[in-house]
């Protein structure tokens, strides 16, 4: 057996268990192939949505070492702004204005919060972003209202039925989901181009590698942080628009962000591909657990209903943490004593 497999046997075993768990419903015939594909697609779609939120988290963590608990509140705030503004102006204009709003928010957060908390330890920064999250929740609803609002992207909501001859009953595919996946992919590509090709992107990568070294060669940390939080804000805006057009823009959007935490754990706090992959794994895993594993557990233990997906993502992240603490693509953390 190759050496690296032997060294990381626990990770390999865990991945093997997951893959077997995923293939099992199809192999044992519990589920029809068409339905299996639908669950898979549904899981991938949820995964894309989680990845979008996790992307913002990773960006901020990479550049400023802060775990942004307020990412969910930012998604909500961005979605609320666009939804309400699009009631009085065409959607593209609203989106542009939304970008400006998020940039202003990023500047304010850096000025009022981050600048004063440089060098504090992780718990304090986490709590600070939690405070920002509370503030944004209240502020967004004060300014824009607490009803359910719509973002009308013009996409049809009724699903298309495909593959009726291949699978019994056909498979339902939502064109909205496909567009969302495409947008997410474009966003990741755009971010990759930004980081690789532009000067600001290179500066961001430098800051992510080593704050002090970046400062020593003259990169202005404060300005970089504003830029990073703005980019994260734009990512939140895209996530908010996609989520909002799918679920309607309302307060509970900010609670979705809690799910992004296991995604980031899985993928590694500092890795963008990790966030994407982690999101997909969590999304698919959740749906599979809920749809296939749930009924088995309910029958076995006489439970009052399923609802496994509330904790499955966290348990999965926990298992990964135990076998690979830095996540799939994260950097190994070295403690110096």
């Amino acid at each position: 057996m190759p050496a690296y497999l032997r060294r990381n046997w626990a990770v390999v075993a865990l991945i093997a268990v997951l893959v077997i768990g995923m293939v099992l419903p199809l192999a044992t015939g519990i589920s029809a192939p068409g339905f299996y594909l639908e669950v898979l697609l549904g899981g991938l779609m949820s995964g894309v949505l989680y990845s979008l939120v996790a992307l913002g988290l990773v960006l901020i963590f990479k550049a400023s070492g802060v775990f942004n608990f307020a990412q969910g509140a930012m998604v909500l705030f961005a979605a609320l702004s666009v939804a309400r503004m699009s009631e009085v102006m065409p959607l593209p204009v609203a989106i542009v204005l939304g970008v400006l709003v998020m940039a202003a928010l990023a500047w304010l957060i850096e000025r009022l919060v981050l600048r004063h908390l440089v060098n504090q330890d992780a718990v304090v920064l986490l709590m600070a972003t939690l405070g920002v999250a509370f503030f944004l929740d209240g502020f967004g609803q004060t300014v824009w209202g607490s009803d359910i609002y719509q973002i009308n992207t013009g996409l049809p909501k009724t699903p298309m039925l495909v593959g009726e001859n291949l699978f019994q009953g056909g498979i339902l595919i939502n064109s909205e989901d496909l567009v969302a996946a495409a947008v997410a992919a474009l966003l990741v590509l755009a971010l990759a181009m930004f980081f690789q090709k532009t000067a600001t992107g290179r500066a961001l990568r430098a800051v992510a590698d080593d704050h002090q070294a970046a400062q020593s060669i003259g990169i202005p940390l404060n300005r970089i942080w504003v830029i990073v939080w703005t980019v994260a804000g734009i990512v939140a805006l895209v996530a908010g628009i996609i989520w909002g057009s799918k679920l309607g823009v309302q307060f509970s959007l900010s609670l979705i962000a809690l799910k992004a935490l296991p995604v980031v754990i899985l993928g590694g706090f500092t890795s963008v591909p990790g966030a994407i992959l982690g999101g997909l794994i969590i999304g698919v895993g959740e749906k599979f657990a809920e749809v296939f594993l749930g009924p088995i557990l309910v029958r076995q233990f006489d439970l009052a209903g399923g609802g496994i997906e509330n904790w499955f993502a966290y348990m999965l992240a926990l298992l990964f943490l135990l076998v690979r603490p830095e996540g799939l693509f994260g950097e190994k953390h070295i403690d110096r004593v």
Binding site: D147, T158, L247, F251, K287
Partner: protein, 466 residues
């Protein structure tokens, strides 16, 4: 060093302000001792527990507006036999512990009737209300077994409980299938909010499924109900014939959205009366067309009472919410709930005199409600509300409902009146309330005296000291 001094000064100032304000808040809070009922000011105080924010805000807002608009209307019409109404709102965001907190805070101001608009809070307050002697109206929600007045003297699930609602839905789908016996072998899925509210109908649906042989699947959705993809994928796998939706707040519109996404026909979805209002269907747009809901007697639309409110409250600029909201389903629901409270006070005043009423007296009033056709016409709710009469053994008063359907622009009634089958429900109420009494070691009161008194013609009697 200047920075440090500034920081210290800031902290000191903050600490000083905090101390002063803390002492300050203790003063009025201490003054909120248990006031005598209605504060002896000749005013009837109504505590209003609301939620205008959070995941359930979109639904709680119109209900609260309707509730308060009716109180304003009564005041504009001269009060309850001359007694002016005062009220205070308390926001609790549908969280049970905050709801109980609101109750505790407001009860010291002399409230006689509390309407928590939350089954979870109702469960929590069912123990406290008899001790505090405050009547609980849970119109269209609450504990289904609290119909039994012998065990729950202070609970009033007026106009319908969840067992009545579930029963009527089963009757309706039975009728659609050509008879209740034709339900055998069919599948009904209950998508419910994972809270006491959502769990309440399960007992009756299980009972009915045993009776008629249909397969019941229960699918819980966790608060706030935004993640339902897996639930609806399960439904797609299960392919039930009907889906009953017991949701609240954003869970409802999300459910309909997910139904669209998984291709479940909306016209085979039936929402309970809290899942059949405008905030549930309008966010979904045209795709919600065909969605059915239960109408707790009233639907949407403006009756004479709405016109009165528009004339006497909104026209004077005192409307609680926007004018377009007057006449929507939840607005009317709140309005009627408020009306039930006021009618209870009126009924109590018939016995105890035209003065502010205490909680104990209001309880008597609510237990002897008799809103007949004449009164309904006088109030201006002809065709909106059916007659309602309570007694000691029946705190529900009326258990009729009909089905309404959303056509993309408004709600239309699509069925006759159904009445809940008490043959099935009565024994369940009896057993459940007996279990509650045993668990709490309650001494069950006897309804014999009250029933006899209600049967005898009302004699002019002096105010009886209870």
């Amino acid at each position: 060093m200047a920075v440090l001094q500034r920081k210290k000064a800031l902290i000191a100032a903050f600490a000083g302000i905090a101390a002063a304000v803390t002492l300050g808040v203790s003063a009025p809070a201490a003054a909120q001792t248990k006031a005598p009922a209605a504060a002896g000011k000749g005013e009837q105080f109504f505590p209003v527990l609301v939620y205008r924010t959070g995941a359930y805000g979109p639904n709680g807002n119109p209900w609260a507006n309707g509730f308060i608009d009716y109180l304003k209307l009564v005041n504009a019409q001269g009060g309850i036999n001359g007694v002016k109404i005062t009220w205070e709102e308390c926001e609790f965001g549908y969280a049970t512990d905050r709801g109980v907190e609101c109750y505790e805070r407001l009860k010291s101001k002399g409230g006689a009737i509390v309407q928590p608009l939350s089954t979870g809070v109702t469960f929590a307050l069912t123990d406290k209300a008899p001790v505090d002697k405050i009547a609980l109206i849970t119109a269209g929600y609450g504990r289904a077994d609290s119909v039994e007045g012998e065990v729950f003297p202070y609970n009033f699930p007026l106009m319908g409980t969840y067992w009545s609602a579930a029963d009527i839905l089963v009757q309706h789908v039975g009728k659609l299938s050509g008879g209740l016996d034709k339900l055998k072998g069919k599948k009904i899925a209950l998508v419910y909010h994972d809270s006491p509210y959502g769990k309440e109908p399960i007992a009756l649906l299980t009972e009915r499924s045993k009776l008629h042989g249909f397969e019941l699947t229960t699918i819980p959705v966790t608060h706030p109900g935004v993640e339902q993809k897996a639930a609806w994928l399960q439904i797609r796998q299960n392919r039930p014939d009907y889906v009953f939706l017991w949701g609240w707040g954003v869970m409802n519109s999300t459910a309909i959205r997910e139904a669209v996404a998984t291709g479940f026909p909306r016209d085979r979805m039936y929402g309970v009366w809290w899942a059949a209002a405008e905030p549930d269907v309008t966010p979904v747009g045209a795709d919600a067309k065909g969605y059915n809901g239960l109408a707790m007697q009233h639907g949407a639309g403006r009756a004479k009472m709405h016109e009165d409110i528009l004339k006497m409250v909104h026209a004077k600029g005192q409307g609680t919410g926007p004018q377009e909201e007057v006449g929507t389903v939840l607005y009317t629901r709140g309005m009627i709930s408020s009306l039930l409270g006021v009618e209870g006070i009126r009924q109590a005043q018939l016995r105890f005199g035209n003065r502010p009423i205490t909680g104990e007296e209001a309880r008597y009033g609510l237990e002897n409600l008799n809103i007949d056709v004449k009164r309904i016409d006088a109030l201006g709710l002809t065709g909106v509300m059916r007659p309602l009469a309570t007694n000691c053994r029946d705190h529900e008063g009326a258990n009729v409902a009909r089905i309404q359907q959303w056509d993309g622009a408004k709600w239309n009634f699509t069925s006759d009146w159904y009445q809940a089958d008490m043959q099935i429900i009565r024994p369940m109420i009896r057993d459940s309330s007996a279990r509650y009494a045993a668990e709490k070691k309650l001494t069950r009161r006897s309804c014999e005296a009250e029933m006899k008194e209600a049967a005898a013609p009302a004699k002019a009697s002096a105010a009886i000291k209870k």
